[in-house]
Structures are given as C-alpha cells and as structure tokens.
C-alpha cells in the first residue's frame, strides 16, 4: 500500500507542474495591473512603471516563469504583490479555517445524508421517500449564499441565538462552535443533499442483489441484512461522490465564507483575483491542486477499508 501511495504522489507531480504553468500563463493573459492596485488610480504612468519594475512584472515572461518554478520547487513562493507579505504565510493563516469548515460540513453531510438515503431507499415510493427526494433536490438547487442569508435572518435577527459576524473566534470551545455552527450547517445541508441522493440510489441497487435475497432466505436478521450486506456494498459510490464533491464544497465555501464573514482560502482567492495579485494567485492554485490530489488519494484508500477485495498495487 505504501508503494501505491508513493506511486500516486509521483504521478501527481506532472499534474502539479501542468497546473502551475497554466496558472502562471492564465493570470498574466487577463488584462489588469497589480501596480495600479497598489498605487491607486491617481498614479502617473511613470510611477506605475517604477512599481512594475520593483514587482518584477516588466521582465521577460520566460525569466519570470523560470524564477517562479524554481521558487515553487524550493518552497519559496514569493511575496504577495499587493500586501507584501509572504504568500505561504498568507495561506497558512487562513488554511485551518477552510479545513475545519470543510471537514465539519462533510461530517454533518454524512451524518444526515447516509441514514436518510438508506431510510428513503428502504421506504421506496412511500411518502417518506418522496419527502426526502424533494427535500434533497431543494438542497441541491438552493444557492449557498441565499440559504446563508436566510439562516442569518432566522438565527441571528429573529431568534438572536448567534451573531451575524461570527468571524473565526477560537478562544474557547463555545466560541469556536458558535462561529462554525451556521457556516458548517449551511454547507453541510448542501452536502447532505448530495449524499442522500447517491446513498439512496446505490442502496436501491444493492438491495436488489442476489446476496440480499439469499441472506434473507437463510434467516439473517433484517438489521444485519441492511447494514452489513446492503450498506457496506452501497458505500463505494458514496465515497466516490464525497471525494468528488469535496472540490465543489471548496467552491461553495467561497460564498459561505463571504456571507458569514469567516476567514478562508475562498476570500483570499477572490481578493487576489480582483487585485491581480499574481504571486498569491499562483500559490493558492498550487494549494488547491494539491488538496484535490490528496483528496482523490484518500478516496482511493478508503475503498480498501470498505471493500477488502480492493487491492493496491
């Protein structure tokens, strides 16, 4: 298995290199000028030129590329063009917030989605199934920022349970939980909608298999039939979907971070894009790519836990 992991990581290197090159080129193709952002709109053309020289964006593109690649490989990701702070520091400061939001939402999504999907499958075409299907469809189609604002109106304005600006206070467990409650619930419900639907259809598939009929025929208790024989086999597609949608979750977290005013990678990337902060954008893209690669690897490894027949070679 270790060999499998190492091999997968080695395969990830060309992906990372390709993404780095693409990001490097793309951010520079888009018109716009980091020097203008820094100096403001009253700056003269001369002042802008001086700033471009200082930032190094006036040099030949190939030279900048070589320097960027070399820097990225030895761990020197440069400094944010706009704030002047090291890119790695900027990212490291907000990365924990994004990770905790994603992980907690995922847990909420799984805790709600898997049992609900299974329950819905067991009661196929009964009212509970219809309700779940409609509910999950609603969850899928509801934009994250609308549900976020609705939650704020209900929990912060009407009920006054939670503050509107939750920020990212983490001094005590209570504060941490309060600041995370609404954003995680918002994303978690969207995630739950995805998971419910996949669990339901996958469960329907496995419940129709021969081995379920056999198990029932030989008198295995229904609880064991459903959870050990049915669920265990239905989980692989669920894990795949969870892995895939983790990327979507990160995308949705941008809006959630903005509305709930949480620090995070999403806010950083939107800001960097608007300001044409080339170095910061490059750093963020590498991190995103890396996260996706790792999540895919973890997804593959989870298959082995669920299904002993899966072998890593």
């Amino acid at each position: 298995m270790l060999r499998f992991v190492v091999r997968r990581l080695i395969f990830a290197i060309p992906t990372l290199l390709a993404v780095m090159t693409m990001v490097f080129v793309l951010v520079r193709i888009v018109p716009g000028d980091p020097a203008q952002t820094i100096l403001g709109d009253q700056a003269s053309a001369e002042a802008l030129q001086t700033m471009r020289e200082r930032l190094g964006v006036d040099r030949p593109i190939l030279e900048q590329y070589v320097e960027f690649m070399r820097g990225a490989l030895v761990g020197d990701w440069g400094e944010s063009m706009v704030t002047g702070k090291p890119v790695l520091t900027e990212i490291a400061r907000v990365l924990p917030y994004t990770i905790e939001l994603t992980v907690v939402s995922l847990i909420i999504g799984a805790v709600i989605g898997i049992p609900l999907g299974a329950w819905s499958a067991l009661h196929r075409n009964e009212w509970i199934d219809y309700a779940t299907r409609v509910g999950s469809l609603l969850g899928l189609s509801f934009p994250a920022f609308v549900s976020a604002i609705l939650m704020l109106i209900v929990f912060s304005i009407q009920l006054r349970w939670l503050p509107v600006i939750s920020g990212g206070n983490r001094a005590t467990f209570g504060e941490w939980a309060r600041s995370l409650a609404l954003p995680a619930l918002n994303l978690g419900l969207i995630m739950a909608a995805y998971i419910t639907r996949v669990t339901r259809s996958s469960m329907l598939g496995s419940l129709g298999e021969d081995y379920i009929r056999t198990a029932r025929a030989k008198g295995v208790p229904e609880r064991v039939v459903i959870w050990r024989h049915g669920m265990r086999n239905a989980l692989i597609p669920v894990v795949t979907v969870v892995g895939l949608y983790l990327g979507i979750l990160i995308g949705n977290s941008v809006l959630t971070e903005i509305v709930f005013n949480r620090p995070g990678l999403g806010k950083l990337i939107v800001g960097a894009l608007g300001q044409r902060d080339y170095t910061l954008l490059q750093g963020l893209m590498i991190i995103y790519t890396f996260v996706i690669v790792i999540v895919n690897l973890l997804t593959d490894l989870t298959y082995g836990l669920i299904d002993p027949r899966v072998k890593y070679q």
Binding site: G32, S44, V82, V111, L152, I157, R160, G174, R178
Partner: protein, 524 residues
C-alpha cells in the same frame, strides 16, 4: 432504526441549542465602550498611510495619524484648515519658504517617545520617496525639509503650489509617522503602524478585523471610547444585518437611494450623507473620429438628460454635476450656463450638420461594477434616442482600468473624488501632461489640452482671488471644448446608531470615513 435516526436528529438540534444558550453575551454593543465599525472589504490592504490609497484603509489612518495641520473634523473643505501637530506657521512672501512651529509634548504610540521636528522631516521625506510611498509625486515640488530646532520645521519649495497646506494635512503623504518606529520596522511598519492620533494599533486578525485601542497620551486628551473594532465584512447583506442586530455601531453605506431609505427604517439608525463628492464624468476622446468634430461632442452633451440620472441614482445620495470640477472643491465655479439643455432634436440636427444624418456609433469599454454600469446603461439609452449608438463592451474592473489607459474606449466613464482643490481634478483629468499613454499620464482620457496655460498659472498664483479666476477660466474652456460631460456627483454614505455621539457635526471627511475623535462617545 427509526429510533437511531431520531436520536441523531435530537442530538443535532440539542447541539445547536447549546451554542445558542451562551450567545447573548457575544453580541457586542455600547456597554463595551468599543466602537464597532463595518466596512465593505474582504481584508485590510497595506496598513501604511504612505502606501495605501484605498477607501478601506484611509478611514483607519484618519483615526491613527495626525498631520502638521488638519481640516476641522467633520469637514472636507480646505478652507477649514486648523492646527494639528503644528501650532502655527508662516510663509515667505514668494510662497517658497514655509515654517511650522510644532506643539510640544506630543507622544508617539506605544512608547516610541516624543514627536519632534526630526520625525516630521523623516516622515515627509519618506512620503516623497517613490520606494516607500505611493504619493511621492505630490511632493516633487519639495526642495528640502529641514529641522531648524526640535520644534521648528522649514519646508523649502522649488516653486509655489496651489495648496502647500493640503500636502501637510492628515491625508495621504501628509500623515506623520514616527521615525524611530518606521526605521526600526522598515517594511514591517505596516504590521504595526505607529502615529500620534487618538487611536493606536491593537490587534489585526486577517480577513476579520483591526482592533484599535485608545491612546491614553493623546495630546488633545484621552479618548472617551476605549477602542475601535474595524471589521471587514464584504457581504452587503451580512453587513446590513449586523448593523440591524446591533453588532455594528457604524456602517459603510451604499451610494444607493433604496439602501438609504431602508437603513433609515432601522431602529435607532442615522444615515449620513457627506462630502467629498465623487463626480461621474464622461470623458470624450477628442482625438478619435468622429469625436474630433466638436459638433458631435455637443450633440452628445445635448442628448444627456441629467434629471433622469437624478431619478435613477436617487436625490438623497446624488446631486447634479455643474462643472468639470466637483462642487465644494476650492476653485469650483458653476458652469450650468455652459451646459446645453436636454434637446434630442437639437442633438440630431447637430449630428446632421456634422455630416452624420444617420447617427454615429462609438466604441465604449466599461467596468462591470454594478453602481457604475447602471449609469452607463442609462447614458447609452439617452444617446440612442439621438441616434448615437454606443457599442458597449463590459469588462471586469481591473481590466477596465488597464484598457482605458490604452485609449481603447472612445468615451470613458470615470467616477472619482480627489483632494478638494480644483488643481488636482483639472490637472489629472484635463491637463495635457496627464494624457493617458504618455510617460506622465494619469487620467486625462479626453486628450484635452485647452486649459494648460490657466491650470499652470493658477498653481503658482499667490493671490487667492486671481487664482480662483484662473481656475474659472480653465473650467470655462474645458466646458466649451466639451472634453468631458459632467453627469452627477455621488456623496459618501455612512450610517451610525443614534446612541453614538460623534462629537462634531458631520458634513464631510477627506479620509472618506467619519472621523472618530477623542470626543466621540456613546450616549448612555
């Protein structure tokens, strides 16, 4: 199975209730004696007054720094200038030598010692250094700054300027930083900026807030507030809701009539509409065809219906523009007489006379920023009635800024506030030295050059009346040439809670945020 599901549900609901039970104390309010301010931004920029020119950071600098002089708190007119770090000043007859006598005993924040003339010299030189300042251009007229004695500073100019006091106001490069701190920290100064103002740096939380604490040694007296919590809240809805729930006491507003009307309904809210105005001007590139024909430019001016813009933007937040310099700026002159009345038939006739009986088509690049785009769409519709078609390409904001500086748009819609002296507006938008694409280019998109002589003469004119007359002539010439069509002026919008007493009357603020002074306090 069903039981398990229910247990999970109950646990989840219970968990939420637990957070909820302990939350009331988290809602900050006047009882903490901390002023909570909400600004529309995801994060701080560079927290160095000589580097950052954004609205987001400028308000903060206004609370932390002093200048040699300041505009009376709550005003944005250069005519209200009053002593700040300098108690008095005098100037030589030729306007080249300026001597400032400093207040004694002013302390730098966090124990960096007394502020003396050495700090002033250092700070002004720093502001004039292109490597450490974004405003170095403003100080190019400085010959030298010297410390005569610990409490006297002398500034020698290469040539007279329209407003030397404007340059040493607590604004942009005029904000005085403490030498010892700036030297010690170098590039890191922005991580812990040190000044002499009523509030000083406390704690910065990335993408969340900047906490300022009261400066107990402030020379005008210890502030009544304990601190300011400046919170970065990019979502418009979240900011409004937080103001409504009482988490924010002061709120950055939208330049939008419906926002103002809605916010006025919030219990205990006051909406402030303040100077300086940002003026929306349509600059016409007079070197491009067919705009090189003045009759076409006049036709465009005639096709504009300013009243309709007022209806569209809202009368509480905007006013009709009456010149190529915004109202309230020193040297502004009313040019209403030179603006043609709204007359579609007249516009068509002028176009026909210029040889375009079937109308003209113009290429326009515009930003996707909603507030600005709406204006351009109304403008487009008004012009269409007169047979002037705008081929509108909408691009993202940073792209817009890059492309209009390459002369790619025949009409440029620009909205800006400047230091409120006519010279800044006239120089940056209508002097030939500022034409985009040239090395000294700034924001002259029209390629206008008709008033260079007057603009330059006004800069060195020492007699205030003669100076105003020169500025007036410059405005007349630019209006007659139809280099730009002023449309409306947008005012700055903020909201505060009624239990907050700012301690002065708020008419305007150069830092674009309401000043928070030593007298600002909550009414119990």
């Amino acid at each position: 199975m069903k039981h398990r599901m229910m247990t999970a549900g109950i646990l989840l609901a219970g968990g939420l209730a637990v957070f909820a039970g302990t939350t009331d104390l988290a809602l900050a309010g006047p009882d903490t004696n901390i002023l909570n301010v909400g600004i529309a931004a995801p994060d701080a920029g560079r927290l160095d007054p000589h580097l950052s020119a954004t609205t987001i950071d400028k308000a903060v600098f206004g609370w932390m720094f002093n200048g040699l002089v300041r505009l009376k708190p709550g005003t944005a007119s250069p005519e209200t200038v009053e002593p700040d770090l300098a108690e008095s000043w005098e100037t030589s007859a030729d306007g080249l030598d300026w001597t400032f006598h400093l207040r004694q005993g002013v302390q730098c924040h966090h124990g960096y010692g007394e502020l003396t003339s050495a700090d002033i010299v250092y700070s002004l030189n720093r502001a004039a250094d292109p490597n450490r300042s974004s405003f170095s251009g403003d100080f190019s007229v400085f010959d030298k700054v010297e410390a005569v004695d610990p409490y006297t500073v002398k500034i020698v100019l290469k040539n007279p300027v329209p407003s030397l006091l404007g340059l040493v106001t607590n604004y942009h490069g005029g904000n005085i930083v403490c030498m010892k701190a700036a030297e010690e920290m170098g590039e890191d100064f922005q991580k812990r900026p040190i000044g002499t103002g009523p509030f000083m740096y406390g704690e910065y939380k990335p993408q969340q807030s900047l906490m300022l604490v009261a400066n107990p040694d402030y020379f005008r007296g210890k502030p009544e507030l304990d601190g300011i919590n400046y919170q970065y809240v990019p979502s418009d809805s979240a900011r409004d809701l937080a103001f409504q729930s009482g988490e924010l006491d002061m709120l950055y507003g939208k330049q939008d009539q419906t926002w103002v009307e809605r916010t006025k309904q919030v219990e205990g809210a006051v909406v402030h509409v303040m100077e300086p105005a940002e003026m929306s001007v349509m600059s016409l590139n007079i070197t491009s065809k067919p705009l090189d024909d003045i009759r076409v430019r006049q036709a465009i001016a005639m096709a504009v219906d300013r009243d309709q813009f007022m209806e569209f933007k809202g009368r509480d937040v905007t006013r009709v523009a009456k010149s190529v310099v915004p109202q309230g700026y020193l040297g502004y002159a009313d040019m209403s007489e030179l603006m043609p009345k709204h007359d579609v038939a007249g516009a068509k006739a002028l176009l026909a006379e210029a040889g375009f009986p079937d109308g003209v088509t113009l290429k326009v690049i515009h930003t996707a920023l909603p507030g600005m785009l709406g204006t351009m769409e109304v403008f487009q519709a008004q012009l269409a009635e007169a047979g002037i078609k705008l081929d509108l390409e909408v691009v993202e904001h940073a792209t817009f800024h890059a492309q209009i500086r390459k002369d790619l748009s025949q009409i440029v819609h620009y909205s800006a506030a400047r230091f409120p002296v006519a010279d800044t507006y006239l120089t940056q938008f209508f002097h030939s030295g500022s034409i985009v694409g040239t090395p000294t280019g700034i924001t002259n998109f029209s390629h206008c050059a008709v008033a260079d002589k007057e603009i330059e003469a006004a800069r060195v004119e020492q007699d205030p009346e003669a100076q105003k007359q020169l500025w007036k002539t410059a405005q007349e010439k630019i209006m007659a040439e139809v280099c730009g069509i002023p449309i409306y002026e947008n005012l700055q919008i903020w909201a505060t809670k009624t239990n907050l007493d700012l301690g002065y009357e708020l008419i305007g603020s150069l830092s674009l945020g309401p000043p928070v002074t030593e007298k600002t306090h909550f009414i119990k």
